[in-house]
Symmetry: C2
Subunit: 180 residues, 2 copies
Amino acid sequence: MEFNLDDAMAVLARTPATLRAMLKDLPRGWVENNEGPDTWNPYDVVGHLIHGEQTDWVQRAKIILDQGEARPFDPFDRFAQFEESKGKTLEEMLVEFAVLRERNLATLRELNINATQLGKTGQHPALGKVTLKELLATWVAHDLDHTAQIARTMAKQYASEVGPWQAYITILHDRKPKQG
Amino acid sequence: MEFNLDDAMAVLARTPATLRAMLKDLPRGWVENNEGPDTWNPYDVVGHLIHGEQTDWVQRAKIILDQGEARPFDPFDRFAQFEESKGKTLEEMLVEFAVLRERNLATLRELNINATQLGKTGQHPALGKVTLKELLATWVAHDLDHTAQIARTMAKQYASEVGPWQAYITILHDRKPKQG
């Protein structure tokens, strides 16, 4: 598919309700267990998505539109959620994510981005030159990546409980955790 | 996690609402594009889940409880949805899946399965001896596998649109489609 702002926003708008449907009031084991060393549990993932709403996607879009490549993006802290989520319940975080996402989509609508602006470039601290279109497409793919991660992480809690069916449930074999 | 019927049912009960939140009223491209040759699009996946509700999980649980290994399971048709979904809208299928799932969970509750029964065995046509616990754990993992598949398939529609971020969105690199 070619990028289209309406298509992108349709997915972005659905992610909070998707995560709420998946996770709200689930027994704790599903939410607190991860895929192994140096992996995240679903609670961590929601915290990471909140941090992205606060510091990443819309902020970077504005930098591209206002200052282009002259002002490189701030690096994104992939571990911020381990501090920021402290003391919050999952329910609070699901609400927080939904509120932030709705606000950011409203901001995106107000920016009224046109096709020419989608080609505008910014400077990523590690990846170099990127376009606004690529940033917005990545926002969408990043949501879906983490939705899949939550489902995969939950599925793996039953990796041994499925017995011989392990051969058929292919997601159990994706992403062997990093060692150490 | 060790298998627990309440934990399992908590996930099974959430899948219809999860898929509805993800897919309802999405622009068609998200629902109709797949991961490449011999892969399924999200519409196909919902059809596959419906067929499982109609012919697989609860039916096999009853066979184990009533007849044990004496009566092997019927093979599951992994391609039934290509005929059975014909003419149905995605919205109709999301409703159908939710209705069937609710009915099957009600049946499961009525069976009032105890710990001893979870160890009862049945005969899978390809995998051989399996327990009721393994069947029910697989039902859960299978839901989550297909939820992740839908998210992964959608993410891949933007595989080239994300530009250099392709290096960071790791799900874009999972499951290279079969060739031919």
